[in-house]
Amino acid sequence: MSSVQGQAHGFEFTVEKVLRLRLQNRLTSGVMYVLMALLVVWSVEVTIIEDTDWERMGSLGNVIESAGRFVGVDFALFPDLFEPALETFMIACLGTLLGVLICIPATWFGAHNITPFKPVTYPTGRLMMILSRSIHEIVWALFFVSALGLGALAGIFAIAVRSVGFIAKMSAEAIEDIDPGPIEAMRATGANGFQVLLYGILPQILPQVLGVIIFEWEINIRRSAILGFVGAGGLGLVFFRQMNTFNFHGVTSVIIAIFGIIIIGEVFSYFARKAVI
């Protein structure tokens, strides 16, 4: 702190002003810190102290004991995990693909420099992005399971709809930042809107967008691993079954399998992104 005050000697003619401003700053930040601390105390009081059923939880030993149930691996389960893992991986791939397809109109509408009819389509595009991002994948999966029935298809739709928001937002931002030169040149030669989109805009944003898609695909593997909780197939279903039959070592095995496919996905995405960018 002393070094900071030492710097103020350079501005000797305004020392009083500097000191007063600094005091003011300290006061505001002090008030903010106190408010934050109070908020923490209040939240801790409500959520942790009042809401928790301490008696049921018992002593620290009991908690450690119930956590210890998960220590250990059910090796017998691994052969049965291969198929659900493959299924999860496939759901993530197909979901990303479908998401990219849904992204195209969302991006086109949501980028304010190319949106076809601004007062209507721009808000529509933005709404699509917000809707997709603000609803959790579990909720999407529930909705699609109730509409399409149990199975991988509901999972694919949930993943697709959920990944629209991020991909479309990043792509729309990329489109808003493009160099307008080539587009003007194309317009001047008489290209129509579609041609401008295909030859003027797409080449400029493609590397960036592909990077985003690969990144989202990596996240989608993580997401598809849990969609089975609500009946959309894959590893989540096995996890849920192990949990409900109290086979806690099996739960650990499933988590290890999830790690496995996530690491595979990360390796793939590392090389793919390197190749793209």
Binding site: V40, V44, D51, R56, H136, L148, A152, R222
Partner: protein
């Protein structure tokens, strides 16, 4: 390169292509294998492609018939408001604890500042990876099964989730700093801790604030559903209504979630904007 290609054009009259032989073949085979894999997975997962269009119609029908008249009165209840406040508190605590863990973890997990590259760095990296790889829902289920129902498991699940989320960003931020001040402080004899506080922290302070706001935003989104498996907050409400097939109420809850997430997003965008301006 250009003279070479023009020469070969004269000799072979070959058509121009962006990629030459070995690279073009590799690219072609990669795309082909991706395509084959996708087709195979459609086959493997038994997706009825021919019924897909009809299904979209059914989707719209479901939405219109079952969810349409949204039961707004249901979410105007004071009881529901309490759950919303709980959700916000859970997200706040989860993000806060996660960030508190992140600060040392990001330090240990950044290759340029870590105290020991052979022992501490891999461990910290591994912890970050585990927190990130396990989905927040799995954390929630695990903690509910260990600690019982309530908001404490929710807070812990969000803490782990935020640790993974913010830890990676923070470590990357530390890896991108200017090493000059760090070396200067090392040269004057500063110990590890002093180097961190006076050399690194002033450089990443603004970025850390941005990460904190972003983390809170993500944590809130996750907090709306961790209750689904018994970890408190709005998710519990959602689950109850879904189980009772009260679709109109479910629609109302979903709308309220969207509204809250949009509000939190607007606030966080505003805050991040202000921070980047004040820099």
């Amino acid at each position: 390169m250009t003279s070479q290609s023009s020469k070969s054009a004269i000799v072979l009259q070959r058509k121009w292509s962006r990629f030459r032989y070995p690279e073009s073949a590799i690219r072609y085979s990669i795309w082909l294998s991706v395509f084959v894999f996708l087709v195979y997975s459609v086959e493997y997962l038994d997706i009825p492609l021919e019924r897909l269009l009809g299904m979209l119609g059914r989707l719209g029908e479901t939405l219109a018939n079952r969810y349409y008249p949204v039961d707004i009165e249901y979410i105007m209840d004071a009881d529901y408001g309490e759950y919303v406040v709980e959700t916000i508190q859970m997200a706040y605590l989860g993000a806060l604890f996660g960030l508190l863990v992140t600060i040392p973890l990001g330090w240990f997990a950044s290759i340029n500042m870590t105290p020991s590259r052979y022992y501490v760095y891999p461990v910290a990296r591994f912890i970050t990876m585990v927190c990130r790889a396990v989905h927040e829902m799995i954390w929630a289920i695990l903690f509910v099964s260990i600690l019982g129902f309530g908001m404490l498991p929710g807070v812990l699940a969000l803490t782990f989730f935020c640790t993974g989320f913010a830890g990676k960003l923070f470590a990357e931020e530390i890896e991108a700093i200017d090493m000059g001040p760090v070396e200067a402080i090392r040269a004057t004899g500063g110990n590890l801790f002093q180097v961190m506080v006076f050399g690194v922290f002033p450089q990443v302070r603004v970025a850390l604030t941005g990460i904190a706001i972003y983390t809170w935003d993500v944590a809130f989104r996750a907090a709306t559903v961790v209750g689904f498996f018994g970890a408190g907050g709005m998710g519990w409400y959602l689950k109850r209504n879904i189980m009772q097939i009260e679709t109109h109420r479910t629609a109302a809850i979903l709308l309220s979630i969207i509204a809250l997430v949009v509000i939190s997003e607007v606030i966080s965008a505003w805050a991040r904007d202000r921070i980047s301006k004040s820099q």
